[in-house]
Symmetry: C2
Subunit: 152 residues, 2 copies
């Protein structure tokens, strides 16, 4: 299995774990320049009463804390869903080199939709972006979660 | 002194305290529906090795933790500088009612410039926005900080 697919599988595991905690199932992984996972997280906004506790923000904060730096040059981020504007901003500030994301998010995304945070001169570092990796499974998890919530 | 000016003065105090810690001098205050300050913070990205530790995010996280909720309906946020896209996203998720900001930020802002986070259908809650409050002092603090850094 290629590296980027196995990292997205790890992000999908985090998304499933988030769903099992009653959180929106999104997961993220930060990978260091040597290809090793340095942080992984799923959404915890409800558990932590923290609107900023998206998977990407939690993974970035953990990776930065471990590195002792607010910047992570040469690091990549894998996330199961297109980042929102908040997370896109955090990704830019952390100087993440590449973002791999799964499902697109036309409703709330901020990379390929809406605010398109990386596409303005006010964004001082834009990562390379690769979309659609593991998208079907990421979308299935989200669809199942929101359908279950409507039924519940 | 009217309420909104005194709240911005408190945010400016936080900005000055941030400068004294070697952080970019931006300060923020969250005010509850009864007009009382429920959280105040200045930038701590360097101290915390956390690229998300902008004044707004820290103030919102503290206010949410105190409220035990990821949403703060009826609350206002005062910040000395136009929020970036990350902070604008966090403000929207927290359901802040009104944002009062000081200096505009054509270089990195995400409210009136660039990503204009509140101006897209992907943003599901847009606060009322009031700009230019205490702007001269906020801009003076930032200018002094960056000039000092160039000299140092």
């Amino acid at each position: 299995m290629s590296g980027f697919r196995s990292h997205m599988d790890r992000a999908l595991e985090e998304a499933r774990a988030a769903a099992s905690r009653g959180e929106v199932p999104v997961g993220a992984v930060v990978v260091g320049p040597d290809g090793r996972v340095v942080a992984a997280a799923g959404n915890r906004t409800r558990e932590l009463s923290d609107p900023t506790a998206h998977a990407e923000v939690l993974a970035l904060r953990a990776a930065c804390a471990a590195a002792g730096s607010e910047r992570l040059p040469g690091h990549d981020l894998y996330v199961t869903l297109e980042p929102c504007p908040m997370c896109a901003g955090a990704i830019s500030f952390a100087r993440i080199a590449r973002v791999y994301y799964g499902a697109e998010d036309p409703k709330s995304g901020g990379v390929a939709h809406g605010a398109r945070v990386f596409s303005h001169s006010q964004c001082h570092h834009a990562p390379e972006v690769y979309d659609g990796i593991g998208a079907a499974e990421a979308a299935r998890l989200l669809k199942g979660f929101f359908e279950g919530r409507r039924d519940g």
